[in-house]
């Protein structure tokens, strides 16, 4: 396990009382790794109109926990594995079936939620997991999980460097992308797998109720601020990261004392409100 104490020392230099505690330093490092990943993937989620897809993956988290209980696999391993499986499954059905994608996702969504509830209704002592699933639990993140997030961060950075143009091309017209030399199936599956992993970690951070917001709100805000497709990437990164930092530190203030996940999303929504004014002004200038 890498020694993260120099990073924690660096965080403790931020002049905020709440950041002097180790669990807060871990939580901050966790969200600062997770938020940029979710924000950048959110750009593609919006391009592909896949908001409902990420919601379905998020809801499969609880079914993953339930499956872990049955197979005696630790929940923190069962959840991401099951999420990837569901993500790839939805993508496969979506590619092969004539059904519209929201119908396919709706069916999988219902199946995974029903499965999770069925298992929970029989099992004892999963109340804490249920709470974690609904509201998120970033404050209990461990160094091992932060290490995994850092690896995922690097993988996603490489993926975005190689695939950003290709994914944009696929979103605009998959047939055109294929004829123009993009390996559409490969990129779609890779995207679904990575998205599933990031969504599962985001469920830990903000809970299933807000997981889609973590992807969508920064990316939608970026669309309003940005003047180019390249700029959209950087705006999403900025909005996601600043929301995560501000949300986490605000939630730890005594005068506020709110759930950290919900506060992060609220800050992002404030960004979005500001972006609406900017988009309105820009739109008036263009028209």
């Amino acid at each position: 396990m890498p020694d993260l104490s120099p990073i924690y020392a660096l965080i403790s230099m931020i002049p905020l009382d709440c950041l002097q505690m180790r669990f807060m330093q871990q939580a901050l490092l966790g969200v600062l790794l997770l938020a940029p990943m979710a924000s950048v993937l959110g750009v593609e989620v919006i391009n592909f109109r896949m908001a409902f897809f990420s919601d379905a993956i998020g809801h499969s988290a609880f079914a993953g926990v339930a499956l872990g209980l049955i197979l005696a696999v630790p929940p923190r391993l069962a959840m991401p594995l099951f999420g990837i499986l569901v993500g790839l499954g939805i993508m496969a059905v979506r590619r092969k079936s004539d059904l519209s994608s929201d119908t396919v996702i709706g069916i999988v969504f219902s199946a995974v939620v029903a499965f999770g509830l069925a298992v929970v209704s029989r099992a004892e002592g999963v109340g804490r997991d249920m709470q974690r699933f609904l509201y998120g639990d970033i404050l209990t993140i461990t160094d091992g999980e932060i290490g995994f997030l850092a690896l995922l961060f690097v993988a996603l950075l490489v993926f975005q460097a190689v695939g950003y143009n290709r994914l944009m091309c696929i979103a605009l017209n998959p047939v055109m992308a294929r004829v123009h030399g993009v390996r559409v199936a490969l990129w779609q599956y890779a995207f679904a797998g990575l998205l599933a992993l990031v969504v599962m970690f985001s469920v830990w951070a903000v809970g299933v109720l807000l997981v889609t917001a973590m992807l969508i709100v920064p990316a939608a805000t970026a669309r309003n601020f940005a003047r180019s497709a390249g700029g959209m990437f950087w705006w999403a990164l900025l909005v996601g990261t600043t929301s995560a930092f501000a949300g986490l530190t605000l939630s730890a203030q005594e005068w506020l004392a709110t759930a950290s996940g919900a506060t992060i999303i609220l800050v992002a929504c404030c960004w979005f409100a500001v972006s609406l004014f900017v988009a309105g002004a820009t739109g008036r200038r263009r028209s």
């Binding site: 975005q160 460097a161 979103a171 605009l172 294929r178 180019s228 497709a229 390249g230």
Partner: protein
């Protein structure tokens, strides 16, 4: 910006069949798209035109063979779709769109100077250089189609496939699109296969036509193929593109068709006016016949003369 005229393939469809859910969509298609030519697939909706294109570009599984004669490798293809799947809020600029499939560096690290300059040249080819910094979502239908054409030409294709590329564009925009496409094909010499419903423009610009209605009804040069009998078989309505080829007589068509042979594309307004005058006269004559007491009833104009 190379000329591929010596490299362009001819495309041979050999016994291509495709059925879906028990329905035969393509039935034993045998046709050829000549090298360096402009081949247009013509036929009613549901005739299998787009399906045949999708087979050609490898999007759909079929039986039979599609061969590219004159090339030892698979031809470098480009595709111009009918539309893009995007909404107006996407801040994708035209110059970025043109760099998407040519520049490896992600757009978030900026446009490379060569990509920017090549994009500008492509836009000049389609008379859209003023759109370089525009958002894709702000383009009109005609502008968008020209930008899509520019993106396809950017691949320097040996085979260009277009699926109703100017559908929904106004008359002027569609005419401009065909003109630009024709000029690009002559300059670069690629083989072109497209689907179109605009028969006058097909008659004017195509070098080869394949009439399709699940099976090949006719194939060949436009003038030999787009006869009124073939078009009647395809569409079930009388259409006369060439006045001297009106096989079945159409009583509503003075001189067999309202499309002037000289103009090629413009309606023969003189013929239309003569026809309308004849109808008016016929109505007048019938009114006069119904009231014989009026003094001029015997001077009703001659109907046959008005058609002359």
């Amino acid at each position: 910006m190379a000329n591929n005229s010596l490299l362009a393939p001819s495309v041979c469809f050999e016994n291509v069949c495709l059925s879906r859910g028990g329905n035969l969509i393509l039935n034993n298609i045998c046709a050829t798209a000549p090298a360096g030519g402009s081949t247009v697939l013509v036929g009613p909706n549901g005739a299998g035109k787009t399906t045949l294109l999708l087979c050609l570009i490898g999007e759909m599984a079929y039986t039979g063979r599609i061969q590219f004669a004159g090339l030892e490798h698979q031809p470098r293809m480009a595709y111009v779709p009918q539309h893009l799947i995007m909404d107006r809020s996407l801040p994708l600029r035209v110059c970025e769109f043109l760099a998407l499939s040519r520049q490896r560096q992600p757009l978030w690290l900026g446009l490379r100077p060569w990509a920017r300059s090549e994009g500008r040249q492509l836009l000049q080819m389609v008379k859209a250089e003023h759109l370089e910094q525009s958002r894709m979502g702000d383009l009109s239908g005609g502008e968008l189609r020209r930008v899509l054409l520019a993106a396809a030409l950017g691949r320097n294709p040996e085979l260009l496939v277009l699926d109703e590329p100017a559908a929904g564009v106004d008359v002027r925009g569609e005419r401009l699109f065909w003109e630009l496409l024709d000029a690009a094909r002559h300059e670069r010499g690629f083989t072109q296969i497209m689907v179109s419903h605009n028969l006058p423009l097909v008659a004017h610009y195509a070098t080869h036509v394949i009439c399709l209605n699940k099976t090949v009804c006719a194939t060949g040069a436009p003038r030999a193929t787009l006869t009124s009998s073939t078009l009647m078989e395809l569409f079930g309505v009388p259409i006369h593109l060439y006045p001297d080829q009106c096989d079945p007589e159409d009583p509503g068509c003075p001189q067999c068709g309202v499309v002037s042979e000289a103009e090629g594309l413009l309606p023969n307004y003189a013929a239309i006016e003569r026809r309308e005058a004849a109808r008016m006269n016929a109505r007048l004559a019938s009114r006069m016949a119904a009231s014989p007491c009026e003094p001029c009833s015997e001077k009703a104009p001659d109907q046959g003369g008005s058609r002359a």
